[in-house]
Amino acid sequence: MTMFENKKILVTGGTGFIGSRLAERLYLDEKADVRVMVHSWPKAAWVSRLGVELTKADITNYDEVEKAVEGCEIVFHCVGIGGTREQAMKINVEGTRNVLNACKKHKVQRIVYLSSVVVHGDIIFDGMDESSPFESYGDAYADAKIEAEKIFWQLINEYSLAGSVVRPTYVWGPLSQYYSIDYVQQMKKNLFYLVDNGEHDCNAVYVDNVVDLCLLCAHHPKAIGEAFIATDGEQIKWKDFFAFYADMLNTKIVTFKSIPTIDGLDRKILKFAKQTLQKMIAPITLRNDKLEQSNPQLAKWFCKAPRKLLKMPLKKIQKILPEMDAVEMSFYSFDGFISIKKSEKLLAYKPRISVSEGMNSTEIWLKDQNFI
């Protein structure tokens, strides 16, 4: 008999990446009576394979959420999306409020909220842990997660509910768009770049390790009222992490270009040349747009032709000058590892799946789903 056997459990966001895996594990391994909240039917393609109950509800509609929560002993609240600031706030913050209100009404015994490490800001440092303060860095999703967690804790205390929070870092594995599928697709198209040759530290987490921690939080008495960061707990560099994906494609990670965090003279010259060319092209494009209406012939010779000439070297520069936006650059350039000692100490939790094992499963899944 498992801890969750025959228990009625709701998974909000159960059609998403982590939520659907959680629902799958609850159904198959834990023999739970799972109810999954569905917002958009086509997204239910994964979770509908399981013998779980699918219930249509909009997280921002209290009545629908209440109906979904009714009769459940445990709720895993996994809804969380970005989009515009307004959307992110509405779905994450109002959604969390609705879930907690419904949990109060229906006397739900345990609630686990899937938050994110982004609540601690956009900088990772060695030994960082759950005690780091919430810090906004202007990102709509991160701000919404901060506000949602605040609401979560406020209502958990106000209603005396048994709640826990899991804050995963960047979650990879089967179904992970950003940290698995995108990487292999970029590598296949040769559009994948390392930062500083991948020499910085990787704090990613395999999806099943996140799910394990969520499950533990739903029954362990010491998890009540606590938040836990989830990582794989392995001290690896990005180059080691990406090497697994390169291997899946029968290539070597060293074959991919690297972007330095500090530009050398060669990159500085190329960037200057690129910016100069772009500055020269921009007014020509404007002039062309105006002239094309009145005199297409003139536009052809005096705008399109010189623009074409200028674009030729620009394209060559763009080809040899890989770039990444500043936020993404910083993401791959942290040194240090997040500490997950709290979950180990309080819950005796240790990530069960090694990076190597997770990558094996991910490779099988990526092959099955025709990504590699």
Partner: protein, 332 residues
């Protein structure tokens, strides 16, 4: 001609309603749709006025019916259409079980014109290749290989195709019906099936099968609603190979050479695409009613494909299901 479209969901919005409006005029198009929100939406999108809650009160005042509801209510509605003597064109699948389908055959005592929307049968390149198979171009043992897949994005309102309480199968019973019907249409009676899918108590989203036919032809078919596959149909045999793009209706790649079918090869039919196929399908239905032309897909054909799917599921049921969640979806 007054046409009643029963069910105002995604397929009616995309194909049946615009096609009917174009062919017979908006005043002759009737829609039965129980959802008030969807009624309002369709009214404003198409300027429809003849839109009602219940089909039953409308049956006596129309000449024919297009049935586009979720399939769990097909049998009852088809029975009502037969009783009223109204020709009916039914969306796939005909019914949730073949037994229900056979019941329908028995109920059609007045031999009312009825057929299925197995639309692939209208594609010129599919018809052309089927003729080649029958003419022996691929030898005595042709092989059809179909890989069809894309992440689900059909804007279903009821979500019926993901809900096991409403349907008897997943992707195979949904989008897979078209390709499976095409295979059966080309190769005839099935002798053996080797079938796998990823359903674990729910509905499959990935399925694959190997088929051997009575006449020794073979087929392999993989379908997915979670991932992008090559979306090709490859027909081979006798040192000839033709490749079709699943979504294209007019082109073939014959032994490595891509070409458009000529008007003769298309049987005189104008080039079709996704903007015209609904209209062509409805026109075929009208021609069957008004000019006694044979419908492109019969109810018997609809039952045959449901029966084949049942045999697939039956075969799977005989094997043990996995007991632990190893890797999502990998359960073949």
């Amino acid at each position: 001609m007054k046409l009643l479209i029963i069910g105002g969901g995604a397929v009616s919005e995309a194909f049946h309603i615009p096609a009917a409006i174009k062919l017979i005029g908006i005043e002759n198009v009737y829609v039965a749709e129980p959802s008030a929100n969807q009624q309002a939406y369709l009214k404003s999108k198409f300027d429809l006025t003849n839109i009602f809650d219940d089909y039953k009160t409308l049956l006596s005042s129309v000449d024919a019916v297009v049935l586009a509801t979720p399939p769990h209510i097909h049998v009852q509605i088809m029975a009502d259409c037969y009783k009223a003597g109204k020709p009916v064109l039914c969306e796939k699948p005909i019914s949730l079980t073949s037994a229900d389908g056979y019941k329908l055959l028995d109920l059609n005592v007045n031999k009312v014109i009825a057929g299925m929307c197995h639309t692939y049968r209208l594609f010129a390149n599919r018809i052309f290749v089927r003729n080649l198979i029958q003419q022996g171009y691929f030898g005595n043992t042709p092989h059809i290989e179909i890989n069809e897949g894309a992440p689900a994005d059909w804007p279903t309102l009821s979500g019926y195709c993901f809900r096991k309480e409403l349907v008897s199968g997943g992707v195979l019973m949904d989008g897979g019906i078209h390709s499976l019907d095409y295979i059966l249409w080309c190769l005839g009676a099935v002798k053996t099936i080797d079938y796998k899918d990823d359903a674990i108590g729910g509905l499959e989203s990935n399925a694959s099968m190997e088929l051997v036919f009575e006449k020794k032809a073979t087929a392999s078919f993989r379908i997915s609603r979670t991932c992008e596959l090559s979306n090709t149909i490859i027909i081979s045999g006798n040192n000839n190979t033709i490749v079709l793009d699943i979504f294209d209706m007019n082109k073939i790649i014959e032994n490595g050479v891509e070409r458009e079918l000529s008007i003769d090869e298309r049987g005189g039919i104008a080039q079709l695409d996704w903007t015209k196929i609904g209209e062509y399908q409805t026109q075929c239905f009208i021609d069957a009613i008004q000019n006694n032309q044979t419908l492109f897909c019969s109810i018997e054909d609809g039952i045959l494909v449901v029966e084949t799917i049942e045999n697939c599921y039956k075969q799977k049921a005989e094997r043990a299901l996995p007991t632990v969640a190893g890797i999502p979806g990998i359960r073949f």
